[in-house]
Amino acid sequence: MNELTPPSFNPPSGAQVRAVHDAFHGDLLEVSMGPHHPSTHGVFRMMVTLDGETIVKLKPVFGYLHRNHEKLGENTTYLSSMPYTDRLDYLNSMTNNWAYALAVEKLAGQSVPERAEYLRVILAELTRLLNHTCLAGFLLQDCGASGTPLMYAFREREKILDLFEALSGSRMMCNYQRFGGCRVDPSPEWLTAAQSLTDGYGRFLDEYESLITQNEILMARTQGVGVLSPALAVSAGVTGPMLRATGVNYDLRKVDAYGFYPRFPFRVPLGDHGDTYDRYMIRILEMRESITILQQAFRTLPSGPIIDPKAKLRGFRPKPGEAYGRIEGPKGEIGFYLISDGSPNPYRYRVRPPSLVNLTILEDLCLGQTLADAVIILGSIDIVLGEVDR
């Protein structure tokens, strides 16, 4: 395998790098996109150097939402970090909770009852539906389809958020998982509602796809734009749908077989080109697989306790040691690395943020593309700034 050095040190050859100050071309133009720019999905900034309309250099600037989440985690107990994890990737609080709970359970050797594992799978897959639906809406918005696709997506998202609110009391900051199980048991009515939402979700996807997937403008804007090679994706630690769009078969639900995912047969969709269109398509296909998983889980959901009776939440002091727990979040691998020194607070609390690591290749994808394409490429990477900056 050859070295994959950052582009600034290994300037790409070809059309996008050419002499400046010559008779035909003017100066390079440096544009600061963001931090208050609607297409950056939050307070994110790109320092873009343009040759005409073509990007010759792009440096992301972070930190506008930095609140030193990891230091907060070191200064609070294990349990009181759980609501903080909601604020990382605030679209996907359920999966953040699960990743953190999983890391703590590994650290303390805590087991989880069967019903709780089922509920975790159900809520994680609902979160995946929610996240990918939002992404499909945002991506179309970034392409310039003002409003309508986003409103269709948000209509469905609200239904899932209503379910989350009915279950946990909060739409987005759910704070639902606990070490050794879950916080509240869903009522039979909730399960019926969630099941009917799942059964109807395929129809929404059909409707959305019939409007969008074959749309000529979308295809023209996204096909061949921001192509990511599998070798670079692996080296840069890109995970989640972005990685699988390049054709690399790496899904932690299959690889790590955490939770009860081995009990539910599902397929892992893979892309061929690694371009923006593939990244969009992978998410649609993943939603179809999530529906399959959800339907199986609702059919076979066992009864029983939702939290291990031996689980200790307050006064929780794991023995000294360390653990790294990771799950397949909707955006990629979200992991928590915890070091315990035997005290009620973790000695070190580290979040492995998929959004930040996936941004490593932003410059590589954008070089040689136009500025308008950079907006779409960033949209297809699917970042949430609460997680990038922490």
Binding site: E3, G63, G321, L356, D389
Partner: protein, 280 residues
């Protein structure tokens, strides 16, 4: 995949001059790690990535850890025995030892090609103050690029040969490393020097010289020549006929009032008033 002991032995054979130590993890997760010396880190990393049966092509997570120096109390039993054949001489001794502090960087490696992992690498700096340099592993795994920048920013580990080692989350002018255990928050994050710093310093000296006079007689012209005169006339003066008070225009000269009553509130701009003093 083979066990960690096998991997350690393999690395010891492949790199005989390097030092590879297994760091035990007593928690139920049993994720033990390999402590490798900094000078061989990059060749070992490349070896782990390129070997056909390892193929650790994916560096998932890079973590910085701060281990400040700490006092350890060791109990030592004297080794020599009683020459007369009795029990061991002397009592147990407690020795205080200062364990030097260091910064540690942990890499979690997985293989996407073969689906195994994690292999955990640890690198340690020599101390926490001036010898904090470690080799960057960004040339081996691109995913380290931002994560190492973050460790440089928040912990102060300097990664040699990192392509773009700048602060990432804190602003460029920030001096300290907030994730260190001995970090103390400043009183005011927003404070920053301005070009008007010298002016403000001068004003402070000026007010300090002014304070006693102004406190003795508010509203009067201070005796010292450098202080500014009051910018407006004293308050309204009651007319001798008992009619309505007449406010005197600024140009009219008024007899100087030497002792104003303490309750008299004049509209004079009083620079010594505490509310008008700038924040240092």
């Amino acid at each position: 995949m083979e066990t960690l002991e096998h991997l350690r032995n393999r690395l010891a054979i492949a790199f005989p001059r390097s030092e590879v130590v297994i760091v035990n993890n007593p928690s139920p997760s049993a994720q033990h790690s390999l402590l490798i010396s900094a000078d061989h880190a990059r060749v070992i990393a490349r070896h782990l990535r390129d070997e056909a049966d390892l193929q650790l092509d994916y560096c998932s997570n890079v973590t910085g850890i701060d281990w400040p120096e700490k006092e350890i109390i060791e109990t030592i039993k004297p080794a020599q025995t009683d020459p007369a054949g009795g029990a061991a001489l002397g009592t147990e001794q407690k020795i205080k030892r200062l364990q030097p502090g260091y910064l540690e960087v942990v890499y979690h490696l997985y293989s996407m090609a073969l689906g195994h992992g994690p292999v955990i690498l640890r690198l340690r700096t020599i101390n926490r103050a001036d010898r904090v340099e470690l080799p960057s592993l960004t040339p081996v795994w691109r995913s380290c690029e931002f994560q190492e920048r973050e460790i440089f920013d928040l912990f102060g580990v300097v990664f040699a040969d990192h392509p773009d080692l700048r602060r990432i989350l804190m602003w460029d002018e920030f001096k300290d490393h907030p994730m260190r255990k001995d970090y103390v928050e400043p009183d005011d994050y927003e404070w920053e020097p301005t070009p008007h710093g010298p002016v403000l310093a001068k004003a402070k000296v000026h007010y300090a010289a002014l304070t006693p006079v102004a406190a003795a007689a508010p509203g009067t012209a201070p005796a010292s020549g450098s202080a500014p005169a009051p910018m407006s006339a004293p308050g309204p003066i009651a007319s001798p006929a008992g009619g309505p008070a007449i406010a005197l225009p600024l140009a009219v000269e008024t007899p100087p009032i030497t002792k104003a009553p303490a309750t008299a509130q004049s509209p004079t701009l009083n620079p010594a008033a505490p509310s008008a003093a700038p924040r240092p």
